[in-house]
Amino acid sequence: MPYALKRTGFYALVVFIVLFSVFPFYYAILTSLKSGTALFRVNYLPVDFDLANYEGVLTNGVFPTNILNSVIVAVVVVAISLFLAVTAAYALSRINFAGRGLLLLTILAVSMFPQIAVLAGLFEMVRWAGLYNTLFSLIFAYMIFTLPFTVWVLTTFMRDLPVEIEEAAIVDGASPFTIVMRVFLPLMWPALVTTGLLAFIAAWNEFLFALTFVSNNSTRTVPVAIALLSGASEQEIPWGTIMAASVIVTVPLIVLVLIFQRKIISGLTAGGVKG
């Protein structure tokens, strides 16, 4: 095959990959900027610029409250799981004790749990504790997928830090808690940012628990709110509004992911293929 042809083929593949990845979201933005009958004309290039859908979704109804709910849940989930995970990861990576391997295995197994397997039991618990229809139910339930993951990634990260860094602190008689907070925490920012961000995304996107434990419109989080957005009648799906809401909740995520893309890739591979 001539070199030029090979090169063209390669770049065609690159263009295909970019279009494949970007086009659907581009089209969602395009749709969100249309209203009225313009919605029902297929355009490939931006021709309309109408912010009515954004105005509608941000001023009518409870969508702003839904966004706030999602922010609260995701931030609290990240804070709690990082705090629990840092101390646990220290014990799992720096202190040798019997049963450590088994414990790590258990944590890995929990991260594979299908959410549906705990749904019935969690539902009973949430109702019993009076947390049904509150954000606390979600903050609690989301620990099932954020905690094993953060513990696992932080443990692999801490394990690779040299032993010398804590020696001085031990000689000075620092307690293990002080060692974690004063010695390890400052070194761990890269890992904390990555795992925190991944946990944030997971909590922000979660649907099954949010659908089951909350039935009140103003307590819902954004994924459920978007899934249930409906028009005046069954046939009238408000596509413009749905796309505007979708763009609003997705743009911050995409910005975060693009800023931290290198860290995210290393975090994903650490959680996925540590063999």
Binding site: S21, A91, A109, I116, P176, F207, A227, S246, L258, I265
Partner: protein, 333 residues
């Protein structure tokens, strides 16, 4: 040697002893051991409350006659939700329960079909993406960023975006395919029983191929460059190099990625629930369980379905842990 011994600080020795897995002797290692369990306790307690106990409760509910309005007063009924023979007398009778429910088996079939096909396509496509991203070319950083976008988009948003693109009357997908001439009339992608499952697979492939590509790319980057150099000097055809050298070397990375994705695919819920609601052609095991639990008021029956799905996934997880031979011991290996 004596002064070397003396020069080693006590902490070093304690740490060494710990590393070697020796019994704790000094006060220091005893203190560290105590704090280890103190540090682990809150995390373990939360995991037990959020995973262990609810799982046991779900299994318990699957052995009772619980209903949504009567959870606490449920009675034990044995395996009746899974398997029950009702004798009508005169040698006539009928089997009931999950294992004899054609709707359950339909959900099992849908889930397996969806998982196998989407994971297969994602692996091949992910490999292609990874090979492209591993090559040196102008704008690689930009392409790598672009590939992350589908992964960052919430599943619900992806489902809605694609539902709109696949709209039978106003969807851009039909418009495109008709412009190219692949189809002659619009297709109702998500509603038509023949295409509903493919609609789900298309969206899943779009959303998760990047993840697959990144995992495989991590494997590709571990392959030492001199392997390719050697092959080039020997004048071996690149295609042969790929199949004989690259593929065997990245096989472990691919295998782990495939199992990860398969576990994810088997518990699929969001995408199917939102993209093709109430469609028997796409109903997955998770959707079947959720419907029985909360919509049909068959809480015990739904719990039984959840339990079976859990067993399937537990089995595959054990297989994965064995295959991946995870390094759990510590610094070793």
């Amino acid at each position: 040697m004596a002064n070397v011994q003396a020069g080693v600080p006590p902490t070093e020795k304690a740490l060494e002893a710990e590393r070697a897995g020796a019994r704790p002797r000094s006060d220091l290692s005893r203190q560290r051991l105590r704090s280890a369990w103190l540090f682990l306790a809150p995390m373990l307690l939360v995991l037990a409350l959020v995973a262990g106990w609810p799982l046991l409760k779900t299994i318990w509910f699957s052995l009772t006659n619980a209903s949504l309005s009567n959870l606490e007063g449920a009675d034990f009924v044995g395996l009746r939700n899974y398997w029950e023979y009702v004798d009508y007398g005169d040698g006539e009778g009928e089997y009931f329960g999950l294992l004899f429910d054609p709707q359950w088996w339909n959900a099992v079939w849908n889930t397996v079909y969806y998982s196998v096909i989407s994971v297969a396509i994602e692996t091949v496509l992910g490999l292609v993406f990874a090979l492209v991203l591993n090559a040196e070319f102008k704008g690689r950083a930009f392409v790598r960023a672009a590939v992350l976008i589908p992964w960052a988009i919430p599943t619900i948003v992806s489902a809605k975006m694609w539902a709109w693109m696949m709209n039978d009357q106003f969807g851009i997908l039909n418009d495109m395919l008709m412009a190219i001439g692949i189809i002659s009339s619009p297709i109702a992608w998500t509603a038509d029983p023949d295409t509903a499952m493919w609609a789900v697979i298309i969206v899943d492939v779009w959303k998760t191929t990047p993840f697959m590509a990144l995992l495989i790319l991590a494997g590709l980057q571990m392959v030492p460059g001199d392997v390719y150099e050697a092959a080039k000097i020997d004048g071996i055809h690149p295609v042969k190099v790929f199949f004989k050298v690259t593929l065997p070397l990245i096989r472990p990375a691919i295998l782990v990625a495939v199992i990860f994705r398969a576990l994810d695919a088997l518990r699929v819920f969001d995408l199917i629930y939102v993209l093709t609601p109430n469609n028997t052609q796409t109903k997955s095991m998770s959707v079947f369980a959720q419907e029985n639990l909360f919509q049909f008021d068959k809480f015990a029956y739904g719990s039984a379905a959840s339990t079976l799905l859990f067993l399937v996934i537990a089995f595959i997880t054990l297989f994965y842990i064995k295959v991946a031979r995870l390094d759990l011991g510590g610094r070793g290996s």
